[in-house]
């Protein structure tokens, strides 16, 4: 069996794709927290988000990937850039970038990383070796089944979904009220 011939039918989740996307995500994540200029940070964050969307696609979650691109990259990041432009940042670029307790923060985060890694290495045996094949073709329908219910029954998350819409409404009102000069 030639591995190349198999590609058309098999998923394209070759390890190279994974390593490339993971490296892009982590490196640009590093750029996000180290750049002086907030716009550069935002651009790096966009690359991270798109890489993570690619990882979702590799995990057979195309709908989540689509939502990630639309909501995060197309919506939230535009909002971020918008705000960065509104608040003039010429001054903040020249200022000190890290706060006084940065060694403490760095140490705590590194400790967290060590905790994660030790947990992973210890608990490696708990994770199943093989991944379950998810139906990619009906991914959207299945998620819709969870959110809206299917065949006349309420979905498992319909109530939570409605609450989420309420949350968004409250967030919209809150944002409008806070940013308006005069109400």
């Amino acid at each position: 069996m030639n591995p190349v011939l198999n590609v058309g039918a098999a998923p394209v989740a070759t390890p190279w794709f994974f390593y490339g996307l993971a490296a892009a995500a982590v490196i640009s994540g590093l750029l996000v927290i180290t750049r002086r200029n907030a716009v550069h940070s935002a651009l790096a964050l966009i690359i991270t988000l798109l890489s993570v969307a690619g990882l979702y696609l590799m995990l057979y979650a195309p709908f989540v990937a689509g939502v990630q691109i639309i909501v995060y990259a197309g919506g939230i990041m535009v909002l971020f850039l918008f705000v960065i432009m509104l608040v003039s940042i010429e001054r903040s670029v020249k200022e000190r970038q890290f706060n006084r307790i940065w060694p403490v923060g760095l140490f705590a985060s590194c400790a967290l990383l060590a905790l994660f890694l030790s947990a992973f290495s210890k608990g490696k045996a708990l994770l199943p070796e093989r991944m379950v094949q998810l139906a990619e073709g009906t991914n959207t329908e299945d998620i819709a089944g969870f959110l809206y219910g299917r065949a006349g029954r309420m979905g498992e998350y319909t109530f939570a979904f409605e609450i989420a819409s309420l949350l968004l409404l409250v967030a919209i009102l809150g944002a409008v009220i806070m940013t308006k000069k005069k109400i």
Partner: protein, 102 residues
């Protein structure tokens, strides 16, 4: 080459999560702190989707969508606060935001 397992995704997510916490704990610029929070949320999402793949059901993906909704709300409100704050104090440094009222 080693096939990609759930653990690989978990490591990437952990790295992103730690980068996010470093950003939140050390940066002064509120905008970048908010972006770091987005990094953290993304790491969590990646974990959820990876576990969803591992167990072969979609609950993780549904949760990921809820977290995206939450992130949108958080960004809107957070940036709203930021703009209101900037109007009042002309600063976006998080360690200068240390008064409950003025």
């Amino acid at each position: 080459m080693v096939p990609i397992t759930t653990l690989h995704y978990l490591v990437v997510a952990a790295a992103l999560f730690v980068l996010g916490t470093i950003g939140v704990l050390t940066r002064r610029n509120v905008v970048i702190v908010l972006m770091s929070i987005e990094l953290i949320l993304n790491a969590v999402n990646l974990n959820l989707v990876a576990f969803s793949r591992m167990w072969g059901n979609l609950h993780g993906q549904v949760f990921a969508i809820f977290i995206v909704v939450d992130a949108a709300a958080e960004a809107a409100v957070g940036l709203g606060i930021l703009i209101a704050f900037f109007r009042n104090r002309e600063t976006i440094n998080v360690d200068e935001i240390d008064l409950l009222k003025w």
